[in-house]
Point group: C2
């Protein structure tokens, strides 16, 4: 296949994934029909099937794309100058904002929830917990998190808390208070996690977060 054809095939594939995400986002996995996705993408059944044999493959592609966008955010922020604790807070706030702005992230989040029980899920949660645990260990080394707490327990609570807040905020306010609720989670968590001699950092972390939101 010539290069230009490969590029075109890749662009079509990406366009189909974006269109499928838009349909999964509004209709959910069960409610999304291939017909609607084809209509939304303005493509043909043949073109769709060339790239994706079935709806499951489309959902998996959306989840993979979701995963790589989240990983990109994590990598970018961990390469930044901030200390580990700042980075943990920044990553959770940024991913909450991505749910609002990026249809792939929104659809991926919905699919993750809806497919929780199928046992076929990618191990996204495990990966996020592990990444967060590493950063918590780093923050403990930095003296920014008390050393008496299990890094795994903190990471599990942060990731579960974000997942739960996203879910409850969807139900109650269509996610309009999502950013506020993530900020409040950090207000409560930082109270206990940050040792007395680093409490001056907390106001900074929370204020800069409120500033970004405004």
């Amino acid at each position: 296949m010539r290069e230009v054809q490969q590029e075109r095939a890749f662009a079509t594939r990406q366009h189909i994934i974006e269109s499928a995400a838009a349909v999964f986002d509004t209709a959910g996995f069960a409610g999304a029909s291939l017909g609607r996705i084809i209509e939304r993408a303005g493509t043909t059944r043949g073109a769709l099937h060339f790239h994706f044999p079935a709806k499951e493959a489309l959902a998996r592609a959306v989840l993979n794309e979701h995963n790589s966008r989240m990983s990109a955010v994590v990598e970018e922020i961990t390469r930044s100058d901030g200390c580990a604790l700042e980075q943990i807070v920044a990553i959770s706030k940024t991913t909450a904002r991505m749910i609002d702005k990026d249809v792939i992230v929104r659809a991926g989040t919905r699919l993750l929830m809806e497919l929780t029980y199928t046992g076929e899920l990618p191990v996204a949660y495990r990966m996020w917990i592990d990444a967060c645990e590493n950063m918590v260990r780093k923050a403990i080394e930095d003296g920014d998190i008390v050393p008496t707490i299990s890094p795994d327990a903190v990471a599990y609570l942060v990731i579960s808390g974000l997942a739960g807040i996203q879910m409850v905020s969807s139900v109650l306010t269509g996610r309009s208070d999502l950013d506020q609720r993530v900020d409040e989670m950090w207000e409560v968590l930082l109270l206990g996690l940050v040792p007395a001699d680093r409490r001056w950092k907390v106001a900074d972390l929370l204020n800069s977060a409120a500033g970004e939101r405004a």
Copy 2:
């Protein structure tokens, strides 16, 4: 209708709800067919339709029953002798255990998650957050929670955290670490919520919880 007939109709209705819960628990809302529920209940299509016009009505009945079982736990524990903070911890631990033991609670939890996006949900989360917020206010009055934190923010985080932990624990371990993860949530939260002069209470709260689990 004579009393004995009314009783029999009520018993049939309850039996159908339990059977529907068992099917929703394993197959989810989309995967549950009326045929499977009828088969499971050992009843007829006519009897089912007499009580429930459609699958939506069955799901709603399971969610209502879930809600009243949760409310019963909350009422029982709030009538107990413990202080408000003890009660909040006890309620969250008990509801986590109920997910393991009670098929109605298990099915209700799954339906709540799966139907999050339909906009047709009962306001269960709102009710739980409000109930928790009242108890947090009481714990602040008791001096067991620091007065500088918003009771609504704490309640929102506790309920969202429990919902998220349930979801993540389902995905990663089929809920086998659910009790442990709820205990760990409280270890992290109590670090920040309990003022210095009440820290002696924390060990008690966490130990008694570990004892119950063992």
